[in-house]
Amino acid sequence: MAAVFSLFFLFIFNTAFSQPEGHHKEEKKGFNAKEIIFGHVLNNHDFHVLDIVKENGEKKPVSLPLPVILYSKQRGLDVFMSSKFHHGEENHLNYMMLTDEKIEALELEPNKYNAQDIVAVNEAGAIDESVRVYDLSLTRNVVQMLLALIFFTWIMLSIAKKYKMGQGVTIAPKGAQGLLEPVIIFVRDEVAKPNLGKRYVKYLPFLLTIFFFILINNLFGLIPGSANVTGNIAFTAVLGVIAFIVIMFSTNGHYWMHIFNPPGVPLGVKFILVPVEFISVFIKPFALIIRLFANMVAGHIIIICLISLIFIFGNMSAAAGWGTAPFSLAFTIFIYFIEVLVAFLQAFIFTMLTAVFIGQAMEGDHDHDHHEHENGLPDVPVMV
């Protein structure tokens, strides 16, 4: 056991000293896995379609530019297309878009400056630290989220119109109604009604919106080449905050009394229990945020890594690359099916946990354990 442990440490320290730099993979000039993975998972100011590799090895990126909207107190509002930056090679209107190469070349702190950040520069081209730029651009994630929103509203409004005209009410449902009605009934009967009781009608639009919005954004993110909307912590954080606000608005006096004064608990335990209960009010939506974000981003990274394996091996030798391809593709297709399942599952879990938390907040007066019976018999019927 000690031998295993010491061998383990030996190997770890071995790799630590053999590569003192550790952060760039300069040996793989042909394929930079980290750049590809983070380029897909993080947010960008354009829709990157493909790279054309010319004969001299230079990469010419082909992409769809998106509007860049910048605001700073000193310079006011600036709006232009991201093609003016020419993928980070030129500055425009005294703004510079950072790329990984620039961050290394200018020796900027890698924690403070990330790729695709836009910073203000002065006339000489050096970074002007005093100008705080607020980046309100229509980035890749924003555009894809808006597209998902338009698609979602269009589908829902069109089936609502059909229902109003009687299709699906007096005669059998047709088309998109047939696709969505079972799902909507499922959310109503399995998620809303069991957790919210009689008052489910008030919360049903919110729960349905959350479910379908997360689901459609998850599914759009699975299309190859699309942006990773739900795997973005800002997106899930906003959803979590909205769910938190709805939960807070549904609380009543009993909920807070149970948190700050749990019934039937001895005084010593209360000192521990009350802080834990209070923190759990905030931890529950936080867990919702992290769960959705981590599931989606992990799935995307797995898929990209599996495909990148082909190119990593291909860098070593062409035969190894071709040999890896069938296994990598088979595994990727398998993971893709799991990701579709995870897309549905995570939307369902977010919605259901929100419904559970709202139900817990709304709980009314129920029988506490501290009322006495005259004859000392328990409440439940006992077989004699």
Partner: protein, 81 residues
């Protein structure tokens, strides 16, 4: 303090993140395996409740996986930061 900063600026941070994520995967595997075991045994005892049991199993598995993914995110942060 110097030894710590030297160690953390090397790929030891990457190795630590990877080991942590691997342990999280082990935890998730054990947890979800126990859920599956309980669910399958319950279905064997009462096959007509299989739909309810399946719904509960998927819900509990997602919660356990959420906990494992917390650890994976921390491992990820250890690698990146």
């Amino acid at each position: 303090m110097d030894l710590m900063t030297v160690l953390l600026s090397t790929p030891l941070g990457n190795a630590g993140g990877a080991v942590g994520a691997g342990l999280a995967a082990v935890g998730a595997g054990i947890g979800i395996g126990q859920i599956g075991k309980g669910a399958v045994e319950a279905i064997a005892r009462q096959p007509e409740a299989s739909n309810d049991i399946r719904a509960n199993m998927i819900l509990t598995a997602a919660l356990v996986e959420g906990a494992a993914l917390f650890a994976i995110i921390v491992g990820f942060l250890a690698m990146v930061l």
